[in-house]
């Protein structure tokens, strides 16, 4: 028995080593939450802000997820532009991790919810989504270009 321990240990270690090396190169999933947890989270709708809740936020980041073109035509004063397609770029990580409320502004509610769910599932907190249909938000819009308004669709 004693003599068979050494080959055994070599086999076990080398097999796991091989598997470890193979898996090291495989892409990893960064999601913090499972789909089930996200599901439980979306059932609480407190992340969707109306205008009264919005003005009560202290010092929020405003994140406009529309593409650059639409952003330049017209956007909310003080909003920064992070198009949805670039939202996973690493240099935004610090921003999303900041201990401040982050409000997602979207032209299209589908995109808004998608961005919110993606970021939430990645584990970022204090994320909000602005319901842009409220007429009371009109004054927020500063640069309004050729008929393109941020609210409504």
């Amino acid at each position: 028995m004693k003599s068979s321990i050494r080959p055994l240990a070599i086999i076990v270690v080398s097999t796991f080593g091989f598997l470890l090396i193979v898996s090291f190169y495989a892409d990893k999933n960064q999601f913090e939450l499972t789909a089930k947890e996200v599901h439980d989270r979306v059932l609480i709708t407190d992340y969707q802000l109306d205008s009264t809740a919005f003005v009560q936020l202290t010092d929020p980041y405003l994140i406009d997820i529309r593409d650059e073109h639409h952003y330049q035509i017209g956007h909310v004063d003080g909003a920064m532009n992070i198009p949805l397609s670039r939202i996973l770029e690493e240099h935004y990580d610090e921003l999303f991790q900041a201990d401040r409320p982050k409000v997602i502004l979207a032209h299209d509610p589908v995109k808004g919810h998608e961005a919110w769910m993606l970021l939430t599932q990645l584990g970022y907190s204090q994320l909000f989504l602005l319901k842009l249909k409220e007429p009371t938000l009109e004054p927020l819009i500063l640069h309004v270009g050729s008929g393109e308004s941020i609210g409504g669709h």
Partner: protein, 202 residues
């Protein structure tokens, strides 16, 4: 004799370590964040009310409509829609409706919110063949059931669209003849790595 004891202790220690590990994390054939974002940016995952009307009129048998409004609000759905409320999608008898390769599921709610939430979850879980109706039931009503007559200055295309919508309205509200309409069929998207292994030794 001694080595047997060592082996027993070793294997039990391994088992105890295993038992103390937290539950499985990578439970699903889930997409990672980049893949999920790709899906979100892919236009073919979304379907407009006009496209859906064409598909339904043409009698595409593989379309399955899934209404995600809560059961109490499940009124006046699209024809033959299945009601799967947002809060109950994780019940066993519903999940298999999303995780399949036969039907093209068109998910809709009253508006975009709930349907988007369900759609993102099914996508992240790695299920294929789930599509999102843009604008939900409200958009359906506004464009198909109550199409707006175009302004006098509108282009010919807009008038054509109106004609089509009008025809669709007659179809869905119970009228007869339908002019032939062209439609863009949606091809089922083959899941990247969703195929469960068929195995066993039988």
């Amino acid at each position: 004799m001694k080595s047997r004891e060592i082996l027993s202790v070793f294997i039990l220690a391994l088992g105890i370590t295993g038992a103390m590990l937290p539950g499985r994390k990578n439970d699903a054939i889930a997409l990672n964040e980049h893949e999920l974002l790709q899906e979100m940016l892919m236009e073919s995952n979304y379907i407009t009310a006009d496209e859906l009307a064409h598909l339904l009129i043409s009698g595409d048998p593989s379309i399955r409509l899934i209404d995600v409004r809560s059961a109490s609000k499940f009124k006046n759905p699209l024809p033959r829609a299945t009601n799967i409320p947002l809060d109950s999608i994780f019940e066993d008898n519903f999940l298999y409706l999303f995780d399949q390769s036969i039907y093209k599921n068109v998910i809709y709610g009253l508006e975009d919110q709930q349907a988007t939430q369900v759609w993102v979850i099914t996508k992240q879980l790695g299920y294929g063949n789930n599509y999102l109706l843009k604008g939900g039931l409200n958009a359906w009503r506004a464009t198909i059931l109550d199409p707006e007559y175009p302004a006098q200055t509108a282009s010919k295309e807009e008038f054509d669209l109106y004609e089509q919508r009008n025809a669709a309205r007659e179809f869905f509200t119970g009228a007869k003849a339908i002019p032939k309409v062209e439609f863009k069929p949606i091809a089922p998207i083959q899941g990247r790595k969703k195929k469960k292994v068929q195995g066993g030794c039988s």
